[in-house]
């Protein structure tokens, strides 16, 4: 059993002892609650003294600065936690507190031993329930705990489990009671979350408090993840030298998607969604651009029941049809094993001491919070008679009910609850409320007190379990709030497990945040990812085209409104009408004020089709699902781009709008630069660039058709078009004469050397088409190449002086015909790509 840490009397010479130091002044623990920082006598506990002293020396101002810094790092890393139904929705930043939770070495050793024992015990319990069920047969485990438990998956009974490791990762939520004792209040056994956030917390905190981190001799986390990775790789049924391991995520809408992506990168596994995998002949494959590749191990973050629509929940779109069969045939390892959610409910807690004696011949080291399962008559009556003292919880987690706090319920609701318990007693437990311990958090430039729960992790090793020396400390959002959960909006802390001696450093990461070694598995490109990268390329380019077009016309609106200027403006407005960006009324005579307001809407209004904000929204949402393909730096550029939603975009000064457009154009340039300089020239990059070139080509053709081949207006728009295409300087250097249509067409359409010209895009597309994988489908690669060659021929035979001559004749002129033919070819190229590489088949259940 664990003991409360000794309460050292402080007659110490240390200057930190005694009164609370400056930055912690005013921090007063609550009576009857264990405080992590201070003793009942109000003195700083010995293991906190070094940290408290160091933070105090930094001072209030410096701490606040560093706290801002931490928040910036979190934003740039894109650390988010999605809260369902939250207005901030998908992009809620992760909340990390400045002050870590410190735990002394001896105390941690007891927790560690308890967690190892618990993981071994739960693993054996799972093996029995999904195997012989001797525990039920021999009366050690009441049958309803399994039979009435929605987490018991009958199709998973008797599945082979490699190495008998049902739990690859186990998490336990620990709370510390007033007497200093740590209690387990819940177990997470099917796909525990939070280990990645714990790692990210550590990376951020050790960056903003580097000296403090080193001086406190904090135990490192990396070796835990190394064991987790090696164990997983060792569970591969075949291919032991170089197993293919994937991390299966429910997708970007999941609350902890950030972590899935983060862990996949950190551990060097491929991040996949259910649709990326397929089962053939009881084997699991990943669908890549180069065909099917075998998968050996699946680290899953999809809940048990959703993993296979064939044998488990038929309405699941998150799983892989036939996965259970593949496991049954022993061809793939799923971690944690399918069905492990069974024991997440509190109903098992009261039986653990007995099971521990029975299965391990040992006393349970880490106690669980006192729990009564109502499936037993005596326990049921106890719970009903003591409702005001207890929390009533669902016995099984898959039930998905909220806990009831008896003390806070009305008499009528209590009666209703009692009726529900009597009706189906086996579905309920009563649990003693553990008064959570408190610790200081840094809020509004001072230390405040908050209750906390520590989520600790154990991972399977060769023949036992290894505990993460640290964990995810979660804090409740309010001083008195008894509920601690990320879903209810609390924050988190790094957990510093102190060591007696110097700490050795192990890391899986190089400084850039990339895994040390990328196995071939990480190089595989699922078709879905190629599809997303292609469209990311297209949206990014579409955004740039739109921004440049808007900037060109806004500049003229902001500057001169003279006679010449206004003719140019109305020609540009007319071009925007032809591009379907402005309503028809702007084709004729327009008031400049009206046009200005309409253009502002075209920048800021998210629901307006084709607006910059709408396209940026598409860029962001598509980027978020391929986040694992970009470095932190690249991602932080994308993350930073923002077009503020203003309630009244019409009132924004044009100068502000222009400044925003300039910033965004530069951000895009930075993103493009990162992509050019940092992205490996694999298929992923190729599809991103394909999207970009194809879209730029389309944007150009659309622009030229709307401007250069419009009767009477071409002359007016030559300069703006050069400007939009960023080619005005080049033109002036090359052609000393005034701006002429023939020369403009040569520079913007035919010149292969101008990256802002059309011919350049075609050349790039030709290069890509030659390197596309050809085994994916009949005609793959070759059809695309044929399309590009057709465009090259059209360009070669184009006689620009003649075309320029006809351009004034009207919309059906020869120039327009050429541009529209090219447009058709580009469209067909896009169709071929979609058909050959992105056509996703959808699974339907019948």
């Amino acid at each position: 059993m664990m003991n409360a840490p000794t309460q050292t009397q402080s007659q110490s010479q240390s200057d930190e002892a005694g009164d609370m130091p400056g930055i912690f002044s005013g921090y007063v623990p609550r009576a009857g609650v264990y405080d992590e920082l201070t003793t009942a006598g109000g003195e700083v506990r010995p293991h906190w003294r070094k940290l408290v002293g160091a933070l105090d020396r930094l001072g209030r101002e410096e701490l606040t600065l560093r706290w801002d810094n931490a928040r910036r790092i979190i934003r740039e890393h894109g650390v988010t936690y999605n809260i369902y139904g939250d207005p901030q929705g998908m992009d809620r930043p992760w909340e990390l507190d400045m002050v870590p939770l410190a735990i002394p070495p001896l105390e941690w050793q007891a927790i560690e031993a308890g967690l190892i024992q618990r993981a071994r015990l739960l693993n054996l319990l799972l093996a029995d329930v999904y195997g012989e069920q001797r525990l039920i047969r021999e009366g050690d485990l009441p049958a309803p705990l399994v039979q009435a438990n929605p987490g018991f998956l009958r199709p998973c009974h008797g599945l082979p489990v490699r190495g008998n490791i049902h739990l690859h990762l186990h998490a336990a939520d620990l709370a510390r009671a007033a007497n200093g004792q740590w209690w387990v209040i819940a177990d997470r056994t099917q796909a525990p979350s939070g280990a990645g956030y714990a790692l990210e917390n550590r990376i951020v905190l050790s960056r903003i408090l580097p000296d403090e981190f080193r001086d406190c001799q904090v135990q490192r986390l990396a070796s835990f993840f190394r064991v987790a990775r090696e164990t997983l790789r060792g569970l591969a049924p075949q291919n032991p030298e170089n197993p293919s391991v994937v991390l299966l995520t429910p997708g970007p809408h999941n609350e902890t998607y950030f972590e899935h992506d983060y862990l996949a990168r950190y551990l060097g596994f491929t991040l996949v969604e259910g649709g990326d995998l397929t089962v053939r002949d009881q084997k699991v494959y990943i669908k890549t651009l180069e065909g099917l590749r075998r998968v050996d191990v699946i680290l899953r973050r999809v809940d048990d029941n959703f993993c296979d629509p064939l044998e488990l929940r038929g309405d699941s779109f998150l799983g892989v049809a036939g996965l259970v069969q593949a496991v049954r045939a022993g061809n793939v390892t799923v971690a944690n094993a399918l069905g492990t959610g069974l024991i997440e409910g509190a109903a098992f807690l009261p039986f653990l001491p007995g099971l521990c004696r029975r299965l391990l011949g040992e006393e349970l080291k880490l106690p669980s919070a006192a729990t009564w399962w109502c499936g037993q008559p005596k326990e049921r009556e106890y719970v009903i008679n003591n409702l005001e003292k207890l929390v009533v919880k669902p016995a099984f987690r898959a039930g998905g009910q909220e806990p009831f706090f008896g003390a806070a319920m009305t008499r009528a609701n209590r009666a209703k609850l009692i009726e529900a318990i009597r009706e189906r007693p086996y579905n309920f437990v009563g649990q003693e409320r553990v008064a959570l311990s408190t610790a200081p958090v840094w809020l509004n430039s001072k230390a405040e007190l908050r209750p906390l729960v520590l989520r600790a992790y154990a991972t399977a090793a060769a023949d036992s379990f290894v505990v993460m020396p640290g964990g995810l400390t979660r804090i409740s959002p309010a001083t008195e709030d008894p509920i601690v959960s990320m879903q209810s909006g609390g924050g988190s802390k790094d957990t510093w497990v102190l060591s007696d001696g110097p700490v050795t450093k192990v890391s899986l990461l190089s400084s850039s945040g990339q895994p040390m070694s990328l196995g071939p598995s990480a190089a595989e490109l699922p078709s879905r990812v190629a599809d997303n990268l292609f469209w990311l390329g297209r949206y990014v380019e579409r955004l740039e085209g739109t921004l440049r077009l808007l900037r060109c016309i806004l500049l003229r609106l902001a500057g001169e409104a003279g006679a010449d200027g206004s003719a140019e403006i109305s020609a540009l407005a007319h071009a925007l009408v032809r591009r379907s960006l402005l309503p028809d009324r702007f084709a004729g005579r327009v008031s400049l004020k009206d046009l200005e307001q309409e253009l502002l809407l075209l920048i800021y209004k998210p629901e307006r089709f084709g607006s910059a904000r709408q396209i940026l929204g598409s860029v962001r949402s598509i980027a978020s699902v391929v986040r694992d393909r970009f470095s932190f730096d690249t991602w932080s550029i994308l993350n930073k781009m923002n077009i503020d939603a203003r309630s009244r975009p019409r009132r924004i000064p044009v100068a502000d709008a222009l400044a925003l457009l300039n910033t965004l154009i530069l951000d895009l340039a930075a993103f493009n630069g990162m992509e050019m300089e940092n992205m490996t020239r694999g298929l992923g990059w190729r599809f991103l660039d394909l999207g970009r070139r194809l879209e730029r080509g389309m944007q150009q053709l659309g622009l030229f058709r709307a401007t250069l081949s419009t009767s009477g207006k071409a002359g007016l728009l030559l300069e703006p078009v050069l400007e939009i295409c960023d080619s005005l300087m080049t033109y002036r250097r090359r052609y000393f004469s005034g701006v002429q249509l023939t020369s403009v067409l040569e520079l913007l359409v035919l010149d292969v050397g101008n990256p802002r010209g059309f011919a350049f895009q075609v050349a790039a597309l030709a290069e890509h088409a030659r390197h596309l994988p050809r085994e994916t489908a009949a005609g793959a690669g070759n059809d695309e190449l044929r399309q590009v060659v057709a465009m090259q021929k059209l360009l070669q035979s184009a006689d620009m002086p003649r075309l320029a001559g006809t351009a004034e004749q009207g919309p059906d002129d020869a120039l327009d015909t050429l541009l529209s033919d090219l447009m058709v070819e580009l469209g067909m190229l896009s169709n071929h790509l979609t058909h050959h590489y992105f056509s996703h088949t959808v699974a339907t259940v019948s």
Partner: protein, 297 residues
């Protein structure tokens, strides 16, 4: 009785399907009163893989994968099954229903292993108070459990109308209770819900029923259908089958295919296809007494 059984399922897909996985529970169970011979399963197009195993409830489960483009899938299961007539269980020998309920509540491991699975909520049967309210009238104090169950069966037969148009596989049980219409599957689910609400273990049975051709007419091929009923557990006696659709205790005209907690555990055929289009389904079932002359069209 010996029957020639044939159960053919044909899927037609509007779009080409590139890969399909199916789970089949089409092979009758081997029981003391039921023996199968000449079990055969034909899948067209020829499956890439076909494996048969025993599922958690002891049913024969076949897993079939068809690879390569196809627009139609046919699964034809045939067998020859002998079903022995069993003497009807005696009402007098059956214990009071409250005794059964208490025995199950006591969580005796042996009874729990035999019948505990079938006492609680299952994916398609969620126990709500309305079920107990309906069932109670059949369960006065001290009544033998078989008498209570037979009364319940009779009330369902009387109160509910057989109406194939009233429900689909997806209709919730509460709707069936409210509108008092449905088919054999609904009635089986209902009676299971009633019995479980009273604390009596009950399981879902899928299978076939020999039907009589119209008087003076020959039997039509494919005119029969899958059938469903239930069984409840009585300690000491074992499982007793009940058919609320026909208000009787099944004997040798009912052929047992599979059992489980509800339809979801035993659906004869369940599949996941990779493809985007619609599909239509045709099922033809024949239950033909082996000594009967056959007419086919």
């Amino acid at each position: 009785m010996i029957y020639e059984l044939s159960h053919t399922t044909t899927y037609n897909y509007s779009d080409t399907v590139s890969l399909s996985h199916h789970l089949l529970r089409l092979q009758p169970r081997e029981l003391t009163r039921q023996h199968c011979q000449d079990v055969d399963l034909k899948v067209d197009p020829a499956p890439g893989s076909l494996r048969t195993q025993t599922d958690y409830f002891g049913n024969q489960l076949t897993f079939v994968t068809v690879k390569g483009a196809h627009k139609r899938l046919t699964v034809a299961a045939t067998s020859r099954v002998e079903v022995l007539a069993t003497p009807p269980p005696s009402v007098e020998a059956s214990p009071a229903w409250s005794l059964v309920r208490q025995q199950m509540l006591d969580q005796d491991p042996e009874l729990a292993m035999e019948a505990g699975e079938f006492l609680y909520d299952s994916p398609q049967i969620s126990l709500i108070p309305a079920f107990q309210e309906y069932a109670q009238a059949s369960f006065p104090a001290g009544r033998p459990v078989l008498a209570a169950a037979l009364d319940l069966t009779n009330r369902i037969y009387r109160d509910f109308k057989f109406d194939p148009k009233a429900t689909t596989v997806a209709t919730p049980l509460t709707e069936v209770l409210k509108h008092r219409r449905g088919v054999c599957q609904d009635f089986a689910h209902l009676e299971i819900a009633f019995l479980r609400s009273m604390g009596i273990p009950a399981r879902y049975v899928s299978g076939y029923l020999e039907t009589d051709p119209p008087p003076g007419k020959a039997r039509l091929a494919g005119a029969d259908a899958s059938h469903a009923w239930l069984a409840f557990f009585c300690p000491g006696t074992g499982w007793i089958d009940l058919d609320p659709t026909n208000n009787l205790i099944p004997t040798n005209r009912h052929i047992t295919l599979a059992w489980g907690r509800d339809y979801g555990d035993v659906s004869p055929i369940r599949g996941v296809i990779l493809g985007s289009g619609e599909h239509s389904l045709k099922v033809a079932v024949d239950v033909i007494p082996a000594d009967e002359p056959r007419f086919r069209f």
